[in-house]
């Protein structure tokens, strides 16, 4: 079964311990200056945003059907059965299509390095594989970030909304967005206020390109036959003429051979 994270903004106290744990886990430096940065970057995979007394986490949503993995030409990004969307830096050639395609603007690039990598939260795949929660969920003192089975977390989120009407926006962000994500969000303020798009389609994005790509195997033989057929027909007249001895056979490039 696939794992997921449930972040409940109403339980979050903005301590930013998840940011720190994430940095440690991914061997990124972390200090007060970085803690104060309010956006995701090549050195900050997750960020806790603050708006007066409200908080909201941002991190890679680890989509169920990730656009980033579907567009990566070399398969550097992959959705694992366990949930995490992983990145293999040894495959990546740096085309940055993943960055353009991600509906949440998650992947970041090491612009100032000569040999750059893509940087994003990969949902601690090693920990998850070992049966442990992600670093951020493990450290969270209030349970605002919770790790578990996606289905269980969905049930729990629905229950929290049901039992505390009025406390939550009636929406589990990530339940259906772009086909669902492995990060689920609950909030008391509209998600747009923290930059989450609520106009995303319910269908997974990769379908949009796959619909076109999947026609190619049919198109190639068909196109070949069609063009070959046209060639055969348009050159037929000359063959007839040649057979009747009226006109030199074939008007393809072989005439240049007869150059003086």
């Amino acid at each position: 079964m696939s794992k997921a994270l449930l972040y409940d903004a109403t339980m979050c106290i903005g301590c930013k311990q998840c940011e720190q744990a994430c940095a440690t886990q991914n061997k990124l430096s972390y200090d007060d200056a970085i803690a104060a940065e309010e956006r995701q970057s090549d050195h900050k995979y997750t960020v806790v945003l603050t708006k007066s007394d409200k908080f909201m986490r941002r991190l890679c949503m680890n989509c169920q059907e990730p656009a980033c993995a579907s567009v990566c030409p070399v398969g550097a990004l992959r959705k694992t059965a366990a949930g995490p969307v992983t990145y293999d830096e040894n495959r990546c050639m740096g085309c940055r299509y993943c960055m353009v395609a991600c509906p949440f603007g998650v992947p970041k690039y090491e612009w100032n390095k000569v040999l750059p990598k893509v940087q994003k939260c990969t949902m601690c795949p090693d920990r998850v594989a070992a049966g442990k929660p992600t670093a951020c969920a493990e450290i969270c003192p209030t349970g605002a970030t919770k790790f578990g089975e996606r289905d269980d977390l969905i049930n729990e989120a629905q229950q929290r909304i049901r039992e505390n009407p009025g406390q939550y926006v009636n929406h589990i962000y990530g339940l259906t967005e772009v086909g669902g994500t492995s990060v689920l969000l609950l909030s008391s303020v509209p998600f747009e206020e923290f930059g989450y798009r609520t106009d995303l389609s319910k269908d997974p994005l990769p379908i949009l390109t796959y619909r076109v790509l999947s026609r190619i195997p049919d198109f190639v033989p068909l196109g070949g036959m069609l063009l070959g057929g046209v060639w055969w027909i348009t050159h037929r007249r000359e063959e007839v003429a040649a057979a009747e001895g009226q006109h030199p056979k074939g008007d393809t490039k072989d005439q240049q051979e007869r150059k003086p």
Binding site: D42, A67, S70, V71, C72, P73, V74, G75, A76, R91, C92, M93, G94, C95, R96, Y97, V100, A101, P103, G105, Y109, W111, N112, K113, V114, L115, P116, K117, R197, D199, L200, S201, L205, P206, L208, T209, Y210, V212, L213, I216, F219, V220, G223, G224, L227, G228, V230, W231, T234, R237, E238, Q246, H247, D251, T252, K253, D254, Q255, E257, K259
Partner: protein, 389 residues
């Protein structure tokens, strides 16, 4: 003439020097210091212009080989070689530009062994790779002829038709796939340009640009090398161009209508101005011009229309890849001078290589006795065609 030549040489040297400096910055300091790209805007003019426009401008290669070798339109034969040359140079330069843009250019071969068939980029990579091979094979006879190597020429001619068919299929695939690339971002690309028909638009416009480039090149060569296509051929190309542009225009506006975006095109705004600039240049002006018989029949008029079409569709590609993504990114992207310098140097190299090739290789069927034969042949062919009516 002499002064002019030195002037262009100076321009060339200047562009090359600037490009060289920018190249050093790019490869010693990375993409950040050498470009205005950022996490919000990861693709700039190296993708939007060098790759998207580069591939589009090289579309004459498949359009013309298909017309001549498959559809057997013999009158167009004299321009097959210059168009193949342009296409070949175009694709080589696109690959060069990619080496600048990729974060890890030395891994450009990775798609060969690490496959993700669900990726449009993967498909484009394969098609471009294969098609560049096809083009080099189509181009090879010109070089081989220069050195009078008959054996390999014979071999290539033997497989010419399958080669051309393969080239046309590969081109159809990747010209349209450059549009498919953007299908994955329905929420990011502005509705003027996001359409399920993007692949179709990219393909049809590639044909239009292929035709326009052929007209354009013919006039350029006449200026600099004193060789030009015969007017009837240009007129014929102009006529086909009108048809292709009209089809494209109708489709484009039908699409806007069905997506309910037609009203939006009249609301003033940044995207609206660039949208109409594109439509004016690529459709309205050229079609107005070419609807005049006088213009359609004159080399000068056709040249102006062709230049407009090329500029119009360059605007289109930049709109799709840059303008249309700016509001979603929440910023304006303006290329850094080093980005422009690299692009400029690549274009300059393209012109220089074209000039060299035209000088030293049998690109134009210019030799007089040969030309007479050619003309007789064309006449004979025409007679024959009419005999069949």
């Amino acid at each position: 003439m002499k002064i002019k030549l030195t002037f262009w040489k100076l321009v060339f040297l200047f562009l090359m020097a600037a490009g060289f400096y920018a190249t050093v910055v790019r490869f010693t300091e990375g993409l950040g210091p050498s470009t205005n790209l950022s996490d919000q805007f990861p693709w700039g003019i190296w993708i939007g212009f060098d790759v998207l426009c580069g591939v589009m401008l090289a579309a004459g290669g498949f359009t013309l080989t298909a017309a001549v070798h498959i559809f057997n339109i013999k009158r167009l034969r004299p321009i097959v070689r210059p168009t193949i040359l342009t296409a070949f140079l175009g694709y080589v330069l696109v690959c060069v530009a990619l080496m600048f843009d990729l974060g890890r250019p030395y891994r450009i071969w990775h798609p060969l062994i690490m496959r993700n068939p669900h990726s449009v980029m993967f498909e484009v990579a394969y098609c471009v790779m294969l098609y560049t091979t096809v083009l080099s094979l189509e181009f090879a006879p010109i070089v081989l002829e220069r050195f009078n190597l008959q054996k390999p020429i014979k071999i290539i001619r033997g497989i010419l038709i399958p080669l051309v068919i393969g080239g046309v299929i590969l081109s159809t695939l990747h010209q349209s796939s450059l549009g498919t690339l953007y299908l994955i971002m329905p929420e990011k690309l502005h509705p003027f340009w996001y359409s399920p028909l993007l692949p179709v638009f990219f393909f049809i416009s590639a044909i239009a640009v292929g035709l326009a480039m052929t007209i354009f090149e013919s006039s350029m060569s006449s200026k600099h090398f004193g060789r030009q296509l015969e007017l009837p051929i240009l007129q014929e190309l102009g006529r086909v161009l009108v048809v292709v542009l009209s089809v494209y225009g109708v489709l484009r506006f039908e699409d806007l209508l069905h997506r309910g975006m037609l009203k939006l095109t009249l609301q003033p705004g940044y995207e609206m101005y660039l949208f109409w600039l594109e439509i004016m240049l690529s459709l309205i002006f050229p079609l107005l011009l070419l609807s005049q018989r006088k213009v359609r029949m004159s080399a000068g008029g056709l040249y102006v229309a062709a230049v407009l079409v090329v500029l119009g569709f360059i605007t289109n590609r930049l709109n799709v890849s840059i303008t249309g993504l700016e509001s979603a990114a929440g910023m304006h992207y303006v290329p850094k001078w080093t980005e422009i310098a690299v692009t400029g140097a690549i274009i300059a190299a393209g012109f220089a290589l074209f000039g060299l090739a035209e000088k030293y290789l049998p690109i134009f069927p210019a030799e007089e006795p040969h030309r007479v034969v050619e003309r007789q042949r064309a006449m004979a062919a025409q007679v024959l065609e009419h005999a069949g009516d």
